[in-house]
């Protein structure tokens, strides 16, 4: 048995003292004029940490501009690593809601985590501003008065591409996407406009997620007689597919098109010249010619060591901008949640991607434009050059009825 020495006694008593000292402080923090607590659930470790980092940097850029205060309240970001694992993300969400009592919650990247968070925030009436996860249902059957989305629904970047590809690229297309629900959803969104525009889907194929060898699929594409490929891949899949498509010699005869994630800045350097000429649809590219974006790109590069912002950074930037503007509109009073929700829904401003506003029907962002972009070599390397755009892309929001 251990006897209680002086040291363990001192340790125990100082712990107890610290506990009593901290207690009242935690209680006081809920009062008005206290810091505005923003809970952030994002991946900060693992392969998706780069996304979490970009989103966070976009947010920090806005908050730093406001000197970390809004309507007389100090802004406090409480960042939690969700590890891209639903159990962890949901646990962290509960911590932020119940223990930290955050005023506003934001995140996640993973759709599964978002689906798990959905009921937690809905039932506890916590305001959640989704800054990445694209699950369509959050703007449809499973929408909530308390949930907004500044990023995109999976449907949004794909739907305008169907019509555009039919008109400008080819009437015979081969569809490829990873074999999971989001991949199929995106292909279906593409078909919604591609088929009515006279396009014909020659064939479609769904390799497994994380496939490393696309040779069998590329052979099928070659033999199919399709004039173009429309695909959705991201991360390492995007790198492998684009490189192998080029190595197979398909690039000369078949045009490669897809959802914007295919050639985002997180994969473009690894794809290198293989990505040249690839056409994708996305709500953003750093090359957009508007004053807000020019300032955003310059400020972002200055603050984060020359790093060029990507779509994820814009999602973070817009999320923070929405928070700042809405909290100002209610004069810092976040206790009246109905008023705050109304203020967020009405928020409108010039974002790097264009005029930002929410769809009152679903609380999902109305993409001011989906830009059709082509990978070209411009000063300083490869980039997504905007060549056309489709305005006001609004998710249909089927099945969503928000209470007034």
């Amino acid at each position: 048995m251990n006897r209680m020495t002086r040291r363990t006694f001192l340790g125990a008593t100082s712990m107890a003292a610290a506990g009593t000292a901290v207690g009242p402080w935690v209680l006081r923090a809920q009062a008005q004029g206290a810091p505005l607590k923003i809970g952030v659930v994002l991946p900060y470790t693992g392969v998706y940490a780069v996304l979490g980092e970009s989103i966070t940097q976009g947010m920090e850029l806005v908050f730093a501009r406001e000197n970390w205060t809004v309507a007389g309240r100090k802004i406090e970001m409480i960042k939690e690593d969700d590890e891209m694992k639903p159990p962890v993300g949901i646990r962290k969400t509960e911590k932020l809601i119940d223990s930290d009592k955050v005023d506003i919650l934001t995140g996640p990247v993973h759709s599964g985590i978002l689906m798990g968070m959905r009921d937690k925030v809905h039932n506890s009436k916590t305001i959640l501003i989704v800054s990445n996860a694209g699950a369509d249902v959050i703007s449809r059957e499973r929408c909530s008065k308390w949930i907004f989305r500044t990023s995109f629904s999976n449907w949004q970047p794909n739907w305008p591409m169907g019509g555009w590809v039919a008109k400008n690229v080819a009437k015979e297309v081969f569809l490829v996407a990873p074999n999971y629900q989001a991949g199929k959803d995106m292909m279906n969104a593409f078909k919604e406009t591609y088929l009515p525009a006279g396009g014909k889907v020659v064939a479609e194929d769904y390799p497994k997620l994380g496939e490393t060898d696309y040779a069998p699929y590329l052979t099928k594409i070659k033999q199919s007689g399709a004039k173009a490929v429309y695909c959705f891949f991201s991360g390492s899949d995007a790198v492998n597919f684009v490189k192998q498509f080029d190595q197979f010699g398909l690039k000369q005869s078949i045009k490669l098109t897809g959802a914007g994630f295919l050639t985002e800045p997180d994969v473009l350097p690894a794809q290198g010249k293989s990505a040249l000429g690839v056409i994708t649809g996305h709500f953003y590219t750093p090359l957009l010619d508007n004053p807000v974006n020019k300032k955003f790109v310059a400020d972002f590069k200055a603050k984060f060591g020359g790093k060029s912002p990507d779509g994820f950074a814009v999602q973070g930037y817009d999320t923070a901008e929405v928070i700042i503007r809405a909290v100002k509109a209610v004069n810092g009073n976040t206790q009246d949640k109905d008023k705050l929700v109304a203020a967020i829904a009405k928020t409108e401003f010039d974002s790097p991607r264009g005029r930002f506003r929410f769809d009152p029907k679903s609380h999902n962002v109305i993409q001011p434009f989906i830009y059709i972009r082509e990978v070209r070599e411009v000063a300083g390397g490869l980039n997504n050059v905007p060549i056309d755009k489709v305005a006001d892309v609004t998710d249909p929001g089927t099945g969503c009825t928000l209470p007034a």
Binding site: T45, G112, M115, Y180, Q181
Partner: protein, 307 residues
């Protein structure tokens, strides 16, 4: 013996009364620790007693979780919450076990891993299982007349089930059956030579462990209100494996302690630093180096706890 039972009852009472003096988040943490504790204990039965290191235990956690989600959504009630998940998980364990127990060591690890990844692939793609979004909005039903929508009744229900699971496993490892399992662990061919139908014992242990893992999965679905394909992922098995090793292999109670240590480290340390994995890794290395028997092993030396 009596001291142990008393200690168990005190712990049980403390766990049951926890919501009376703790906030919502600590209660959720405790509930998760208990659920993972059952899951880790069921793995410990295989690892620590029968000597079968399974890397596919997530399959049964996931089956329990998914069956509970499907059943509770369609028919909220006792059958859906308590009976179907362990039965389905047990059935899955019977099938997987039938093939896997024929090999041992690395091959056993690989086979179980492969089976669990197959479940993952199916859950990730099947639209009727919600694909990668999983099944969400699972209600907490009324079970044996208790309305689990009440947070306190759910807590007591959870604590009671975990306690029953722990008692059951404790009985199992102390029964003649449990001793045969330990004998197989020590020397499989000798047990065979003595005349025991080794494979039958191993299969039964595998099914029991699978059913309890299914209970844990079902409890998890009810706690969170959703289940995603990640439940099947090998990392779920890996984390349970870590919990067992941290707590002390072959001790049952250690598995719960390991679950507690793992989840507290993961939840609390990661709020302060993004490098929490480094701290977890260092803790793990230190434990393996200086306390190869895990937390329980380290405690035994100090407080005079016996095996």
């Amino acid at each position: 013996m009596i001291a142990r039972l008393a200690a168990f009852l005190v712990l049980l009472a403390a766990a049951a009364a926890f919501p009376l003096f703790a906030g919502k988040y600590p209660v959720t943490l405790l509930q998760e620790i208990l659920i993972w504790g059952v899951f880790a204990m069921s793995l410990d039965l295989l690892m620590g007693y029968a000597g079968m290191v399974s890397f596919g235990h997530s399959a049964f956690f996931g089956v329990g979780g998914y069956v509970a989600a499907l059943a509770l959504t369609a028919y909220p009630g006792t059958l859906s919450a308590l009976a179907l998940p362990p039965l389905a998980a047990g059935l899955a364990a019977l099938v997987i076990g039938f093939f896997s127990i024929r090999v041992s060591g690395v091959y056993f690890i690989m086979l179980t891993l492969a089976f669990s990844q197959m479940f993952y692939a199916v859950a990730f793609q099947a639209a009727w299982l919600g694909a990668e979004d999983g099944i969400v909005g699972v209600p907490r039903a009324s079970v044996v007349g208790i309305n689990l929508a009440q947070p306190m009744s759910f807590h007591l229900y959870l604590v009671a089930l975990v306690a029953l699971g722990a008692l059951f496993l404790w009985r199992v490892v102390r029964s003649p059956f449990g001793h045969v399992l330990q004998g197989i662990h020590e020397n499989e061919s000798r047990m065979q030579a003595v005349g025991y139908a080794v494979n039958r014992y191993k299969l039964l242990a595998f099914v029991i462990a699978g059913m309890l893992a299914g209970v844990a999965g079902a409890l998890y679905t009810q706690l969170v209100g959703s289940i995603t394909p990640d439940a099947f992922l090998w990392t779920t098995s890996g984390e349970a494996l870590l919990m067992v090793i941290i707590g002390g292999t072959g001790t049952l109670g250690g598995a719960v302690l390991g679950a507690g240590a793992f989840i507290l480290l993961q939840s609390l340390v990661s709020s302060y630093t993004e490098r929490w994995m480094l701290i977890l890794g260092l803790t793990f290395i230190l434990l393996v180096l200086f306390a190869p028997g895990g937390i329980v092993g380290a405690l035994r030396g100090r407080v005079g706890l016996r095996a």
